[in-house]
Amino acid sequence: MSWTTSISTKPRRAMNRLRRLLLKTATIGASAALAYAALAPLKVFAALWPAAAFEAKTIEEALKAAGVIDPVTCEGIAIKAPEIAENGAQVPVEITSQLPGTRSIYIFVDKNPQPLAGTFEFREGAEPFVSTRIKMGESSILRVVVNSDGKFCMATREVKVTIGGCGE
């Protein structure tokens, strides 16, 4: 899937889908209306899915494509992840940023076929914390980048993987 096709087709597809969903749920009442409200901003964000960053094949390219400029290693990013992950298909990762003005957190796995695993953007009200589970193909550096007021800070952890999880 190229960048251009993903931009041109996806929002339309999403839009149609949302329209159908709205029609379907219109009669159900208030609760459905609220569910739709949560979906409305989603289609805007979906159009912004950074394909180039997610499809980059090396950590250097992925950082660049994600717009991570001159990252410096700094204190204030806590990463909780296992030293040894037995199952690469389910590796728990918890990140807490103490950096003031944290806007977003990026998770990279240096040795994954596509290193960028996900980005998390915090709006007003959200604490600079996130916990999730990722897939790791093999033992690798886990690299977390925090954008705090436009400045990029980085922290790394080494995670050994017993059974890779990319074919999962």
């Binding site: 901003p41 389910q90 996900g118 007003e124 897939k135």
Partner: protein, 107 residues
């Protein structure tokens, strides 16, 4: 219909701790079907958003490297009892799902 979203919210002072489990295969496109030996096509959630009373508080963009049946935990400051927290996702096929829950009193 996509698999359901499960949410668990715990309020401590004014911080709502939200744990979400999303039913989704998160296929990488690299996995072979055990029976046919064919590669299972890519199918993964690309975008997730979380709202507090309809206002977006967290937006996540995901790759295929988020684990199957994704787990997501986040925290919202300034939440009160009965506030409504919503979750919505859209995947690479344009499929979507959403769920909402109200903040329960602190236990």
């Amino acid at each position: 219909m996509p698999d359901p979203i499960r949410m668990r919210i715990k309020l401590t002072d004014d911080v709502a701790d939200v744990r979400v489990l999303i039913g989704h295969p998160m296929e990488t496109g690299l996995r072979k079907d055990a029976k046919t030996g064919e590669l299972v096509p890519m199918h993964f959630i690309e975008t997730v958003s979380a709202t507090l009373n309809g206002k977006v508080v967290l937006e996540a963009q995901w790759s295929r490297a988020i684990a199957r049946n994704p787990y997501l935990q986040f925290r919202i400051r300034g939440a009160k009892v009965n506030d409504e927290i919503g979750i919505a996702w859209i995947d690479n096929r344009g499929e979507t799902n959403s769920a909402k829950a109200t903040v329960p009193p602190s236990s």
